[in-house]
Amino acid sequence: MMLVDVLCAVLLIAGAVFFLAGTLGLLRFPDVYTRLHALTKADNVGLGLMMAGLALQAGSWAVVGKLLLIWLLVLLAGASVAHLVASGALKRGIRLWKR
């Protein structure tokens, strides 16, 4: 195995761990705001790490550019979803979780 392959595998597995964290947060956290926090951050970081791993193996700059574009689009979607859903939930009277 070459060094690039090892680095790629490490990045991909780290990304998968972040995805697992995001799913666990979605399942375990108590209200919609905390779930938003887990989902929109952890998943986007996980996807970014996977992108970095795949970009190492991509072979051409066009593919790297496309991966970057996809990641930026997902980031944009995540950020707008977090804001819209959180403010919509507040407006509709969903209460914040208190211990």
């Binding site: 392959d5 991909l12 998968a16 919609v32 989902l39 996809i70 939930a89």
Partner: protein, 91 residues
Amino acid sequence: MQTLYLALAVFLLLNLGAGMWRVLRGPSAADRMLAAQLFGTTAVAILLLLAQAHGNAALRDVALLFALLAAVTAVAFVRRAWEQGASDDAG
């Protein structure tokens, strides 16, 4: 490397399956929408892994489309489909 790509794709698919529980459980429409968002992000990752594993560049375009649609669905949900007062039962 190919084994790793495919193993990770299966792992992410299991993540998706776990996320289905939140869709079933709710309790509010927003929680179901969040699960849909999880599906979008994870599907992008799975498609990119498969594109790399099988050398099929067209799957990257599918992933790009999913990323675009993820933004549009959520905005459409918040602006149009999420009725006032329908989700007040959330704990």
